[in-house]
C-alpha cells in the first residue's frame, strides 16, 4: 500500500470493585435488570455522590503502571449529553485534570520494541445498557441501569500505531498489565474491556495527518483488527479515486462486517464540560503515590525477562508462560517445589496443561492438576517413561488422583532390571523365530516388531533404551 496508516486507541476498562463509583450498589455482572440501582446512580434530584476510594486508587495504580505523570490536583467534570443510557443527562468524567497524563506502554512486535505513548488515563462512570428489541415495528428501546455508575477507566493513546500488529500487541500488552495489577477482570465477553479506534491514512513520507475516522462499538480484539482492515481498504480506495475521507464517527457492524456512518444528529456533540460541584477535588501527594506504587507487582515484560534469565527457558516459552499471570504463577509454584527441572515443567505446562485447558475451556486457577501434582508426575516420570507419563497425566485429569497413586495402583513402574528384561526377550525370540531370523538377514524392521512384541507383554513398561540394547545384542549374537 502506498499509504501510511496512523492509528490510536481508546480503551475502556471497568474497574474491579464491589460497589459502584458513587454509591453502594453492586457492580455484579448479569443480574436481573434494574436490581442494582438507587437514587444516586439514577441521578434523582438531591442526591450526593461520594467517590469510591478503591476505584480511585485502582485508577491511580493503572496510571502509575502506565508510566503517567500523576496530577497533584484532580477533579471531576460533568460531560453533558442526552441519551437514555445515562439517567442524569451528563456523565461524570474527567476533562481538565486527568489522574494521569503522558505515559507509555512498551510493546514488542516481531522482536522489535516500540513505545506507544499514552495521552491520558482518567476515571469516569459507566453508562447503562440499552436493548433494542428486534421485533419488527417495535418503536421503543429498553434500559437497564445496573451498569450505570460502575467505575470505568479510560486509557487514551497518542496516534502512534502504524500497523495492525502494533495495535494487536498494544491491546494484549494493556490487557495483561490491567490483569496483572488486578484493577480489572478484563472480561471482553462481559464488556469489561472495550476499544474505540481512530484511523487515518496519509501518503508515505507525509507529515500531515489525514482525516481521522473513529469507530466505536468494538467488543473484541478480533473486531478491532477486522474494522481496521476494513477501514484501510475503504479509505485507501477513496484516496486512490482522489476522493476525500470524511472526518466522522462510524459504528462497527459485526454481523455484516462493515463500518457504518453514525447519523449526524448522534454525532453533534457539545459536551459543555464543567466541574462537578457535588464531588470535591482530590489532591494526590507523594506519600500516597509511594503507597500505591508499592502495590504494583512485577509486570509481564519484566517477568518474561526474569523467566529467561532465572530458569533458562526460551524467550518464546517465557512469553507464553507470562501471557497469563495465573499461568506464570502456576509455573513458578511448580518450580518452587522442584528446582531441578524448570525446562521440563515449562514443557509440560506449555504442551500438555495448556492443551487440556483449551480443550476443557477452563482456566489454570480451576485446573484439577495442581502444581504439586504436576511436580509429582515429573518426578516419577523417569521410573515410568515418557509415554506412560502422558497416560498418567490423562488419568490424573479424569480422576483428580495423584501420579504416585495411579502408578502404584496400576503397577506402571518401568522395568529397568536387565535380567528380568533378558528373560522376557528370551521368550519373545522363542515365540518369534522368523523375525529373529529376518533380523539376522539384515531386515532391520524386524527389530521394531520384536520391540513391539515385548512392549505388548510388558504393557508398555519395558524401559525402551535398555530393551533395544538387549534385543540388538541378543539378535546379533544369535545370528553369528
Amino acid at each position: 500500500m502506498k499509504y501510511e496508516v496512523v492509528m490510536g486507541l481508546e480503551t475502556h476498562a471497568e474497574l474491579d470493585t464491589e460497589s459502584k463509583l458513587f454509591c453502594g450498589c453492586s457492580t455484579k455482572f448479569g443480574s436481573e435488570p434494574n436490581t442494582q440501582t438507587c437514587p444516586v446512580c439514577l441521578g434523582l434530584p438531591g442526591v450526593l455522590p461520594v467517590m469510591n476510594k478503591k476505584a480511585f486508587e485502582h485508577s491511580l495504580k493503572a496510571a502509575l503502571t502506565l508510566n503517567c505523570e500523576i496530577s497533584k490536583f484532580t477533579n471531576f467534570d460533568r460531560k453533558s449529553y442526552y441519551y437514555p443510557d445515562l439517567p442524569k443527562n451528563y456523565q461524570t468524567s474527567q476533562n481538565y485534570f486527568n489522574i494521569g497524563n503522558n505515559g507509555y506502554v512498551d510493546i514488542v512486535v516481531k522482536g522489535k520494541e516500540k513505545r506507544i505513548d499514552i495521552h491520558n488515563v482518567h476515571l469516569e462512570e459507566e453508562a447503562g445498557k440499552l436493548i433494542h428489541p428486534e421485533t419488527s415495528g417495535a418503536n421503543y428501546s429498553l434500559v437497564d441501569f445496573n451498569r450505570a455508575g460502575v467505575p470505568l477507566l479510560e486509557i487514551v493513546t497518542q496516534p502512534d500505531m502504524r500497523n495492525v500488529e502494533e495495535v494487536e500487541s498494544y491491546m494484549q500488552a494493556l490487557r495483561n498489565i490491567l490483569l496483572y495489577i488486578g484493577v480489572s477482570d478484563c472480561k471482553m465477553q462481559e464488556g469489561s474491556l472495550r476499544f474505540e479506534v481512530s484511523i487515518s491514512l496519509r501518503e508515505k513520507g507525509s507529515n500531515v495527518l489525514g482525516n481521522r475516522v473513529e469507530i466505536k462499538n468494538l467488543n473484541s480484539m478480533k473486531a478491532v483488527l477486522k474494522v481496521l482492515a476494513y477501514e484501510m481498504s475503504r479509505q485507501s480506495s477513496l484516496l486512490d479515486k482522489g476522493e476525500n475521507v470524511l472526518m466522522e464517527t462510524r459504528l462497527w457492524d459485526d454481523v455484516d462486517s462493515v463500518s457504518r456512518r453514525m447519523r449526524s444528529k448522534e454525532e453533534a456533540h457539545d459536551y459543555r464540560y464543567f466541574p462537578e460541584p457535588d464531588l470535591v477535588p482530590i489532591w494526590i501527594d507523594q506519600e500516597w503515590i509511594n503507597e500505591i506504587r508499592a502495590t504494583i507487582p512485577e509486570l509481564p515484560v519484566d517477568k518474561h525477562q526474569r523467566f529467561v534469565n532465572e530458569y533458562s527457558i526460551s524467550d518464546y516459552d517465557a512469553g507464553i508462560l507470562t501471557e497469563d499471570k495465573h499461568l506464570a504463577d502456576y509455573f513458578e509454584e511448580c518450580v518452587g517445589l522442584s528446582q531441578d527441572s524448570p525446562k521440563e515443567l515449562s514443557n509440560w505446562i506449555i504442551n500438555d496443561v495448556l492443551r487440556e485447558l483449551n480443550e476443557r475451556k477452563t482456566n489454570v486457577q480451576d485446573f484439577i492438576v495442581s502444581p504439586k501434582m504436576l511436580v509429582e508426575l515429573v518426578k516419577i516420570k523417569p521410573t515410568i517413561g515418557s509415554s506412560i507419563a502422558k497416560d498418567v497425566f490423562g488419568e490424573m485429569i479424569n480422576t483428580g488422583r495423584t501420579a504416585p497413586s495411579i502408578v502404584k495402583e496400576k503397577n506402571l513402574t518401568q522395568i529397568d532390571d536387565v535380567s528380568e528384561l533378558n528373560d522376557i526377550v528370551t521368550k519373545v525370540i522363542e515365540d518369534n523365530p522368523k523375525a529373529a531370523e529376518d533380523y539376522g538377514q539384515g531386515k532391520k524392521s524386524a527389530l521394531t516388531f520384536l520391540i513391539g512384541q515385548t512392549m505388548k507383554i510388558t504393557r508398555g513398561k519395558a524401559n525402551p533404551k535398555i530393551l533395544t540394547k538387549i534385543l540388538m545384542e541378543r539378535l546379533s549374537a544369535g545370528s553369528k
Binding site: 476510594k53 477533579n75 418503536n139 428501546s141
Partner: protein, 95 residues
Amino acid sequence: MDISVKEIEHIANLSRITLTVDEKKTFAKQLTNILDYIEKLNELDTDEVQPMAYATSLKNVFREDKLKSSFSRQEILELSPSSTNGFFKVPKVIE
C-alpha cells in the same frame, strides 16, 4: 453579550426540546439579559484571585468500597412514565 436565535436553536437541539419562533426570540432576549447581568462581575479586579470551582474547601472525600442494598426494582420503575419486564421503556434511540 448577545445570544442569537441561532444559538438558542443549538441549545434547544442539545436539550432535545422544540421551541416556537416566538419562544426562541423571547429566550434569546432573556438569556442575553442574564448574561449581561453576570457580566457585571467582570468589573471586579480578580487578577490576584485564584479560579474557584468549589464552594467549600473540602478535599479528598471518599467512601470505602462497601455494598449497600439497592432500591427495590418496583419502587424505582414506578418513578418512570413507562416500563416493561423490569426495564425502563424509552422511545427508540437507533434507526
